[in-house]
Amino acid sequence: MLVAAILKKDGEVDMVTLGLIINPIAGVGGRAGLKGSDGEDIQKLALARGGTLEAGAKAEVALAELADLKGEICFLARPGAMGGDVLEKLGFSYQAIEGSFESARMPRSDGAVDSPPAKSSDSAADLQSGAGAATSAEDTVEAALQMASAGVDLLVFAGGDGTARDIYRAVGLSVPCVGIPAGVKIHSAVYANNPKSAGQVIRRFCANPTTASMVESEVMDLDEDLVRQNIVEAKLHGYLTVPRMQNLMQQAKASARFSAHDIEGIAAEIADLMQAKAESTVYIFGTGGTTYKVMEHLGLQGSLLGVDVVAQDGRRRIVLADASETELYECVKDAGEVVLIVTAIGGQGHIFGRGNQQISPRVIRLVERDNLWIVSAAEKIYGLENNTLHVDTSDPELDRELSGYRKVITGWQERIVCKVEA
């Protein structure tokens, strides 16, 4: 299992090592109109309805972009549909790694918040697909773990939002990743815009593997069962480290090539604003990478996917970590002044109702208009559809009150005016 390390020994062969994981079943539900491919029953139904397995073909389009780098890169992959087939077809040499699972396991339990490292649910299922050996989320997780411990420079995976969640559960932020979009649902910002772009991202990364600029991007997923009932509810499940590439990655539609806006600037602005507030004020920090990083700059260890409450009477500290709705409400309801700091989640730009349902309507109503501080890197705002942020608090009246134009904090002494809509 130390293949990559061996290849790199003593710098004799200075190759870039790529791990490749294809989720062969990804996307099968798309053409079948099933809004996703999670779950064994759905996968069977999809195949019965004439769904086709296209993830391999999409990975092939991406990797064809690397055809002339054969001497400079090497792959780690499972044999067969999870990677080996495509690599063989394109003539790439690769080191095969074997898995310990013989058949499919573990459909995801949707709605649960994933947390790295891998935790598997226990439901088991077999899938007989027409594409050789059946694979499961468990295979993805195991392969990703093996590749991470082999020290791959970049983990390339083809799939959808579910696959991204599996990768996140396996490796968290520890390994640079690039997603080749092949699934039905692509809400995660860890995917390139299309397979060809994915190939170009990998290519650029390979040119500069140690110094490539990286960014932590959202792993999002919809609850497919709800979507099939036409209820769209995207949840934030975690973050992966992906290359920062203009125009090639999802939500990176607007280039940030020359952007100096950064989290440090936002944190400095928040610190300034907090300085101007009364000591008794309490601060609710919402979920997401931006608020997490801002807290880090303020010297606070927040929870990435949770809501934290901060006080600064005396010294600045977290008084309630990873709060539930009830805990949160009880904690702040009697405070003199409540400031709520939230960020937009992913390309959809939700500030309420996605990944932060703990911040409920009754909590939001405790916050005065000027005390709602929306923070976001400018590049994220540029990538929003119609430059619009969204609220979905489940309280239509409150959604209406929150709608209109808002100033979003994008840096130190910098704001962008954004439209907020229900």
């Binding site: 972009e65 815009n193 299309n194 060809k196 772009s197 190939g199 170009q200 040119a207 110094t211 600029s213 203009q246 125009n247 539609k253 607007a254 280039s255 940030a256 090539r257 020359f258 952007s259 400018a378 590049e379 705002i381 540029y382 119609n386 430059n387 209109g404 134009y405 100033k407 994008t410 002494q413 910098e414 704001r415 962008i416 005016v417 954004c418 439209k419």
Partner: protein, 519 residues
């Protein structure tokens, strides 16, 4: 070897000299000029020449300059000049937002060789440079007429410098009024300096995104950004996209309604000069870039002039010196009571004022208006042709005409072929066209490129440039490898799309190069 007149494409190939950097050409002891020793008479008068420079200011070691003979130096720079493209050798409509136009050579001759201009020392007595001061004074009159503003300063050395000077005026104005206003409002498609220069001056920046149907922010969003903290709005119109906001007067009024000033970045006024004026839209401060719109050559970061115009109320804040006329003679006035002070040495880039004066005098009011109309006409033709090229799209304001320039997108091409704007611009030079301007920061329009066919270009020039873009689009769909490996006919081949962000690898000088590559 001739141009293919059917396709309009040239069989172009540029010189490739494989020329080293001049530092690498150094031979110890070689000299370009042998300076003669001072005569006995001079020697006697100055004594020990080394002693003229105080000990504390003297170098300990000689400067590490390259030692190269005159002929080799001459050859070196001639070769480099053959390896460049620019406004005088190629059709430069690709430099959108830069307003590249023909600067008549007679202007250059006068500026370089007329002793009344070329030999003037900024410290000589005013009475001995009345002609130059008159040029300043009359050019100011023309600028006042074109803009409707009440007074101008020609001190700032460029556009961003003028914006900074305007921000200083805004700051001092509210300080005098005793109002605590520390925010400025700008739009995402205004020039980035409209945010950057006021920020450097200490202002907080509130930026407005475009409405996709209008192409510029809605009045509603604009009003939302304004408050009792707003000191000024700094905006461009038409914006970078070439889209003009016809309701600009209402936006200015909204700023005035909250007590803020309105500052108009008219660096590029080419499409509307002689047609609309800043005064009628209600602006308090403006600037023109004389080194583009008004025909002084533009590029290489200078020299330039950001002509700063103000209303009567703000005139006392203008930088000094001002050129004034007392009925008999012209003089430099440093006495403005509330001036923001000096923003540049002496009285700015005088040579540019001379060129601008000549240009305005040769065109006259009708000619200036006609230049604007021609530039707009050229742009309509270009938009029509370029937007029909496979792979090209235009963003925002569907069906609305662009004024003097247009920001296009190769997003479709990228999606179809994997080749984007950087690939196209690399291939452009193979057809004798300078790389084009993509976009100011940030790249909101994906895979952007911006074309600005000013009045100087003939229909044939436009057709040639458009034919090149058509050809490259065809290649992207049918022969993509030729683009991937481009350029082929330029001094440097097969340039990669490559951005270095590691400070350790960025080398801006020979000295840095030596330091950073030393093992």
């Amino acid at each position: 070897m001739d141009q293919d007149y059917k396709k309009l494409l040239r069989n172009f190939h540029q010189a490739r000299w494989d020329e080293p950097i001049i530092f690498e050409m150094s031979t110890p002891g070689e000299r370009g000029v042998l300076v003669p020793a001072a005569s006995a008479e001079v020697q006697e008068a100055i004594g020990d020449e080394a002693a003229i420079i105080p000990e504390s200011l003297r170098r300990k070691a000689k400067p590490a300059l390259p030692e190269v003979g005159q002929m080799r130096v001459n050859r070196h720079y001639m070769r480099l000049s053959q390896q460049t493209l620019g406004n005088d050798v190629s059709v430069d409509i690709g430099q959108g937002t830069c307003t590249m136009k023909y600067s008549p050579k007679v202007q250059e001759h006068l500026v370089r060789s007329n002793p009344d201009i070329a030999d003037i020392h900024p410290l000589q007595d005013e009475s001995t440079m009345q002609g130059l001061l008159q040029i300043y004074h009359e050019t100011e009159k023309y600028m006042k007429e074109i803009s409707g503003m009440d007074a101008f300063s020609f001190q700032p050395g460029g556009g961003a410098h003028a914006i900074y000077a305007n921000a200083l005026i805004v700051r001092n104005y509210f300080k005098d009024k005793g109002e605590d206003r520390d925010e400025i409002v700008t739009t995402i498609f205004s020039h980035p300096a409209d945010a950057g220069a006021p920020a450097t001056c200490g202002f907080k920046v509130v930026d407005l995104m475009q409405d996709n149907e209008l192409g510029y922010p809605t009045l509603e969003a604009f009003k939302e950004a304004l408050s009792e903290k707003t000191a000024a709005v700094f905006i461009t119109n038409p914006e970078d996209t070439g889209i003009f906001n016809p309701r600009i007067a209402e936006y200015v009024q909204a700023a005035h309604d909250v007590g803020a000033l309105a500052v108009y970045d008219q660096a590029n006024v080419n499409g509307i000069m002689g047609i609309t004026r800043a005064k009628e839209a209600g602006f308090d401060l403006i600037h023109y870039n004389l080194h583009k719109t008004f025909s002084s050559p533009h590029g290489g970061m200078g020299p330039g002039v950001g002509a700063l115009g103000a209303t009567k109320e703000l005139e006392p804040y203008l930088p000094v010196p001002q050129v004034k006329f007392d009925g008999e003679k012209y003089y430099l006035d440093c006495g403005l009571e509330k001036t923001v002070g000096k923003v540049r040495a002496f009285f700015g880039n005088a040579a540019i004022l001379v060129r601008v004066y000549m240009w305005i005098r040769s065109l006259g009011p009708e000619g200036i208006r006609e230049a604007a109309l021609c530039s707009v006409l050229n742009n309509q033709y270009t938009v029509k042709k370029v937007s029909a090229i496979p792979g090209v799209t235009m963003y925002y304001a569907d069906g609305i005409r662009r004024i003097e320039q247009c920001r296009y997108s190769w997003e479709q091409l990228k999606e179809d072929t994997g080749l984007g704007t950087e690939d196209v611009t690399r291939r452009l030079v193979d057809y004798g066209m300078e790389h084009y301007w993509q976009s100011h920061h940030p790249h909101i329009v994906p895979e952007p490129f911006t074309l600005e066919p000013t009045e100087s270009y003939s229909k044939k020039d436009l057709d040639e440039f458009i034919a090149v873009l058509q050809q490259i689009s065809w290649e992207a769909y049918n022969d993509p490898d030729i683009i991937r490996t481009a350029p082929h006919n330029a001094p440097v081949h097969g340039i990669k799309n490559y951005y270095e962000t590691d400070p350790e690898k960025i080398m801006c000088s020979w000295r840095q190069y030596l330091k950073k590559t030393a093992k």
